[in-house]
């Protein structure tokens, strides 16, 4: 506004009637929107269902197609650094060139499948360790007094309030040769030489287990908490000792939580990049790192895309397997 105190008439009207205007503008718009949807035989309920599909299409399917497309291209030194899939040649020929060499490359070069295998191994062991630690924790939380449960739940998710990267960096400080643990052990006279922990698979396991533990605990907790205590009483009543009751009642009934927690840890750990990069050594090569290298160091976008697609396929296969397991666990429970 140029002159203080003076507000142009139009503007004044606009501010005064803004809410009204807005609804007036919005109503026909909304009506138009739903009418259009209605023309395609989509009701209000249909529209609600449509939203997640639209989301998936926009942020999953389309990027996926783009990545798939790049994975079938050739690497070139250009901007962007890959060839086009569809090209006009001699004005009249529409040429589609699919390069399967990138995938062949993945199979032929031991580096890739070793990295895949290593990723699966590390993710599996991490998920398993998470289960071993997370189950008793979730169990104790579910058994805790009701007033305590929410507090404990809060504590489990509390680390999320600090940056993930910072927390992984903190582990460097703890595991270093001159880090907390080694300093303590040397000060206590238990060891003379520092134990090498940083830049080993061990450090990667610690990092992954530490970071992903909440994803194991939360689904486990929610199934264990729902478990009807009278079932255990009934078991005890029929002469079953507590430990046996755990094995025959609690454990089978918490299988859906075990499967959910396991995949919530396993699948993201599979593609983990930061933790092996910061804490791992030569043996901790995981597929996430390979991808990074191809993409940024080699500028080999097509190979990187092929790596990503292959990994996605792997994850989808695993998820299908998990669905099967989950269904089985659920019908059992």
């Amino acid at each position: 506004m140029s002159r203080a105190g003076y507000v142009p008439l139009g503007e004044r009207m606009a501010t005064a009637s803004e809410p009204l205007l807005r609804t007036l503008v919005r109503l026909p718009l909304l009506r138009w929107f739903f009418n259009t949807l209605g023309r395609f035989a989509i009701s209000g309920r249909g529209a609600v269902v449509l939203v997640p599909y639209a989301w998936l299409l926009l942020f999953f399917a389309i990027p996926f197609v783009i990545v798939l497309k790049i994975s079938l291209a050739d690497q070139v030194i250009a901007q962007p650094p890959y060839t086009a899939l569809v090209q006009w040649t001699e004005d009249t020929y529409l040429q589609i060139k699919l390069n399967l060499g990138n995938y062949l490359f993945l199979v032929q070069d031991a580096l890739y499948w070793k990295a895949y295998l290593n990723s699966v191994k590390i993710a599996f062991i991490s998920a398993f360790v998470c289960l071993l630690i997370g189950y008793p924790m979730a169990y104790a939380m579910a058994r805790a007094e009701e007033s305590w449960r929410n507090v404990l739940l809060m504590l489990v998710v509390l680390p999320f309030w600090t940056s993930f990267l910072l927390r992984v960096y903190a582990w460097i400080g703890i595991l270093n040769n001159t880090g907390l643990i080694n300093n303590w052990l040397i000060a206590a006279g238990i060891i003379d030489e520092p134990i090498t922990m940083i830049r080993t698979n061990f450090a990667v396991y610690i990092g992954i287990v530490y970071s992903y533990l909440p994803f194991m605990i939360l689904p486990l907790y929610s199934t264990l908490e729902k478990l009807d205590n009278t079932l255990l009483e009934a078991a005890a009543d029929l002469g079953c000792r507590p430990f046996e009751a755990f094995l025959t009642i609690t454990l089978p009934l918490s299988m859906p939580g075990v499967v959910a927690g396991f995949s919530l840890v396993f699948i993201p750990a599979l593609g983990e990049f930061v933790i092996p990069d910061l804490l791992g050594g030569k043996d901790s090569l995981m597929i996430g790192h390979v991808l990074w290298d191809e993409f940024f160091a080699n500028r080999a976008w097509p190979v990187a895309s092929a790596v990503a697609i292959a990994m996605l396929t792997l994850v989808l296969l695993l998820m299908a397997g998990q669905r099967k397991l989950e269904e089985k666990a659920e019908t059992a429970a």
Binding site: E233, A234, L238, G239
Partner: protein, 380 residues
């Protein structure tokens, strides 16, 4: 009970030398400040079928859970077969319980549910299969063995729960509302089976119910509970005909209650003045109540006679009223009669004749009268 008794009736509670199988001594259970079971003392004898009867939330389940070992009494002691149960884990007690919520294991088939307890006792496989099959047959679920609990109806689940508790043939069975979800026919046949099982195996039962009819037909004795206390224990007849309080009289069966005061008394009779009845109520036995105390006379509907003409001796126990409503129940009819004082009285009359022109009907002026032994004097 082993010693020969002069009477054939099974009444160990009348025998001062009989040793109770369950002895509950001054047991109180508090949840925080809330008293769920309040200073209950109770003896239950071997082979009894003892019913705990009471309204919702009166502490029946809590008492049962203390017997099974899921709750520790806040104070007091429980003895089963002479052994103090304090600190004894549920899986060590010679007790099986059927839960009000059934507590069937959802991940196991019906067969496995029933077999669960037998497996814990390391019963041989073949025998387990036999016993499971037999008990499932008994509860009419022979062909349902392979199903999971969620594939059963409510009543079927209840029967699985019952079978699971019965199959172990424990010394003491605790049943929490065992037949609530069954239809009338099935309930009656299961009641019959329960009594048969008890006869054959000599099991002692403690059954919780809020169905008084069930309590009446099943039990050797009934304990009526209210607000965590046992108000009265006794045989079904005692509870029905000789209630010790207005609560019991009202809770078990239907009753007409007349508040009044003693106007005349001797060793072998009392006469009670009652404004609402507009007549004196004569009782042919003495009562132990202070002369001017307020008391109540309870008269059961079936003990009142309904006539158009005044009965011969109409000085006591005779009131006039108008028929306000009739409910035809088939075997009998329930008459709602409005006394001249405005009080409503329930009277039941058996329908002895199929049809008669002369039956008492709506708006008829009637006399209500009852025998001198029919009124129960209550001071509580």
């Amino acid at each position: 009970m082993a010693e020969a008794k002069t009477t054939t009736a099974f009444e160990p509670w009348t025998d001062p030398n009989a040793v109770p199988y369950i002895e509950i001594r001054n047991v109180t259970k508090k949840f925080g400040e809330f008293v769920a079971v309040d200073n209950v003392s109770l003896n239950i004898y071997k082979q009894e079928l003892f019913c705990l009867l009471g309204g919702s939330g009166c502490g029946k389940t809590t008492l049962l859970r203390m017997l099974a070992g899921f709750e520790e009494p806040t104070s007091g002691q429980i003895f089963i077969d002479g052994q103090d149960m304090a600190g004894i884990a549920p899986y060590r007690r010679p007790v099986n319980m059927m839960f009000q919520s059934y507590a069937l294991f959802p991940h196991m088939t019906v067969e496995h549910n029933v077999a669960f307890g037998l497996k814990q006792d390391n019963v041989p496989k073949g025998e387990i299969a036999d016993r499971v099959a037999k008990i499932l047959e008994l509860v009419k679920l022979g062909s349902f063995g392979k199903r999971k609990p969620h594939q059963l109806s409510g009543g079927q689940r209840q029967r699985v729960a019952l079978a699971r508790a019965l199959v172990k043939q424990p010394k003491l069975l605790l049943l929490d509302e065992p037949l609530g979800a069954l239809d009338k026919k099935l309930r009656e046949s299961t009641q019959f089976e329960l009594m048969k099982i008890q006869d054959q195996l000599g099991v002692t039962f403690v059954v919780v119910t809020h169905d008084q009819e069930e309590a009446m037909t099943l039990s050797s004795r009934i304990g009526v509970m209210n607000h965590g206390r046992i108000i009265q224990t006794g045989t079904p007849t005692e509870i029905y005909e000789f209630p010790n309080s207005r609560f019991v009289a009202d809770f078990v069966g239907t009753v007409n209650m007349f508040p009044g005061r003693i106007v005349d008394e001797d060793n072998d009779y009392v006469r009670i003045g009652c404004d609402e009845a507009a007549c004196t109520i004569f009782i042919n036995h003495g009562v132990a109540a202070p002369p001017n105390a307020e008391l109540w006379v309870a008269v059961r509907p079936e003990k009142i006679h309904l006539t158009r003409e005044a009965p011969a001796d109409a000085r006591d126990n005779c009131v006039r009223g108008t028929v306000d409503g009739i409910a035809y129940m088939g075997d009998m009819s329930i008459y709602n009669v409005r006394l001249d004082s405005g009080k409503m009285i329930k009277v039941t009359q058996p329908n002895l004749i199929r049809h008669s022109e002369d039956t008492i009907t709506w708006d008829d002026r009637v006399f209500l009268h009852w025998h001198a032994s029919s009124g129960v004097v209550l001071t509580l």
